[in-house]
Subunit: 368 residues, 2 copies
């Protein structure tokens, strides 16, 4: 008896992947975190109206969700002044990135991203046999010009750019994105990941024609809308590209309660505004806590803040480990020099109090 015959690509993929959730850390530690500030989750949570909608839909969960996501796409279209044909809803941006890579990337196809940018995108590119080319950050910012130059050099089919950026929280103006787009080489598609754009200053969302075939934008209910666990992302772009997702997506893949929750969350823009105010205050608090410990922060347009621990990646990792062992879940960038920082999500006062208490101890331990 032999086992299954995998594809050569499957055989070549690494058996272990770097997706470790805080629950796994909690199981290893034998205790729950006091503050969950590592995954850029929105601790302020969704609108109470969204929670109520999900709870009501839970009682009717025996029904599959609408495979067309009609109501949510219609509401988003009305909100954005576009048509439902320009919108595909999927199982989080992660799911949509997987579908998009599958649509475009085969063995050896060139893809460009930034060194240290979103690892799940890289995971999907590798998973479909694409060849990743990376350019460094520039002053803790993604570098649109360098991305475009690299794309031209390697003949990229896909270019990934997050604005605002994760893990640094930095951002470009929409006007800068539009300028950079003009340098996108012919035949390349720009993925503009705007997962955090609702937190960013006015003018951060680039003004790009929805029918522009050079760009697809990714947005989500996981961040500003506080629904990470619901898995509702959406992509915006030219109808032809959006329609292509129907060739391969998991049509009945959306959770029905999540669809209802996202619809209710979208309708409660007042709550979204409150959340953004709360997050801005939390960013300030994180800056203050950092300053009290002699550290600086990287200015952020997201719901997290990169704190510069003032040394190298080893030191930041020691600080991180000491925070984690004290019950404060945080993460850090992967590559130098950004890995001199730890990344702390905007929390409620009680979360940040736990962080403020643990940080000086963690620094002392790391200096040690």
């Amino acid at each position: 008896m032999t086992g299954p015959r995998y594809t050569p690509l499957t055989e070549s993929l690494p058996a272990t992947v770097p997706f470790v959730g805080p629950e796994a850390q909690e199981r290893a530690m034998g205790r729950a975190f006091d503050a969950r500030l590592g995954a850029n989750e929105n601790v302020f949570g969704p609108s109470p109206k969204a929670i109520a909608a999900m709870q009501a839909a839970s009682a009717e969960i025996w029904m599959y969700g609408d495979p067309e996501n009609h109501d949510l796409r219609s509401a988003l279209a009305a909100d954005l002044g576009i048509t439902p044909a320009n919108i595909v809803v999927g199982e989080g941006i992660d799911g949509l990135l997987g579908y998009l890579v599958r649509l475009l990337i085969g063995a050896g196809d060139a893809v460009v991203t930034s060194e240290g940018a979103y690892p799940t995108f890289n995971y999907h590119v590798a998973g479909f046999g694409g060849l990743l080319h990376k350019v460094p950050y520039k002053g803790d910012h993604e570098d649109p010009e360098a991305l475009m130059a690299k794309a031209a050099e390697v003949g990229a089919k896909l270019v990934y750019l997050a604005n605002p950026d994760n893990p640094m929280g930095t951002w470009h103006t929409g006007a800068e994105i539009v300028t950079a787009l003009d340098k996108l080489p012919e035949g390349a598609l720009l993925i503009l990941d705007e997962a955090y754009v609702e937190f960013a200053p006015e003018g951060t969302a680039a003004e790009i024609d929805i029918d522009d075939p050079r760009v697809i934008r990714m947005r989500t209910f996981s961040k500003a809308y506080g629904m990470a666990g619901a898995r509702v992302g959406y992509a915006l772009g030219a109808a032809e590209l959006i329609t292509a997702f129907n060739k391969i997506r998991n049509h009945f893949g959306m959770n029905r309660a999540a669809q209802a929750g996202a619809l209710a969350a979208l309708a409660d823009q007042e709550y979204l505004h409150e959340t953004c105010t709360n997050v801005a205050a939390a960013r300030d608090d994180i800056g203050r806590i950092a300053a009290e410990n002699g550290l600086t922060v990287v200015p952020s347009a997201t719901n997290f803040v990169a704190i510069d621990c003032g040394s190298d990646g080893n030191f930041a990792k020691a600080v991180l480990d000491a925070l984690v062992s004290r019950g404060v879940f945080v993460r850090m960038p992967f590559v130098a020099p950004q890995n001199r920082c730890i990344r702390v999500s905007a929390g409620r006062p009680e979360d940040l109090a736990a962080f403020a208490k643990a940080l000086p101890e963690a620094l002392a331990e790391a200096r040690g």
Copy 2:
């Protein structure tokens, strides 16, 4: 400005796919269905404890779900007497079938299924460039011997067999499956889709060693557990194969409330038993309604019943259309001679009353 460069495979896939939900039909009709009996959803719904767990988790949906699905996999493992390493949880069986096909099937690889069996599996095979070979049903049953013989003939990497079957509701004993498995050719993997197995008579689940590398079983919380809209499926198999899913799956793809709901549903076996009793009674009622209209049914081990409309596919389609236009959502098999039937899900008394009222009118209209 040109558009994105798709892969040759993507270019070759059909732009439209046959996934039409009842909501789309309702929008087209301008009214809601009175009875939703077309998608093999479990109208009796999930355990009240599962609903309560999903509602509680909705309030904490700002957190991503555990990417390892640890608690659910541990509970399933304990229940089944296996280890969590033998279980992968995913976004419904549909999602898991997509991952499995991706792991094994590349351009031109041979896959075997039955003519008229699960179309979503065929969709995934086509989506990864596989070559589908089909064998006919035998007396409204899937034909394991013919599947194995075809697999040997074409050198199949994957063989799909649902037990009990959808869309006919027929089944084989577990012993028959075990016997057939011995004829599975070297290098092929059998997908044993057991989505409906909880409804089936004792002895329908085949006794196969969990570490047998020739088989992967698919199960779900969508059917007997009444949680189709939650999207929780799981696959059982040898640890090596199960672990391979980690190379490509959407690690953070599971809805957190759905994870909690499935865990609570699994713990309430008493409710599951009640559901199966209700479903068996509803199957009998459907048989009685059919008989009152001079029709026979195909014996079923699932939560749906194929009613033989006594003529050909055109006639059954006319009956179906007439039912739909009277507010009763049902579906039907795709291929002859199984398409002489309509497929009616087990409903509550009020659902079946709507069906009983509409059926004689629909038959009269179809007879014209």
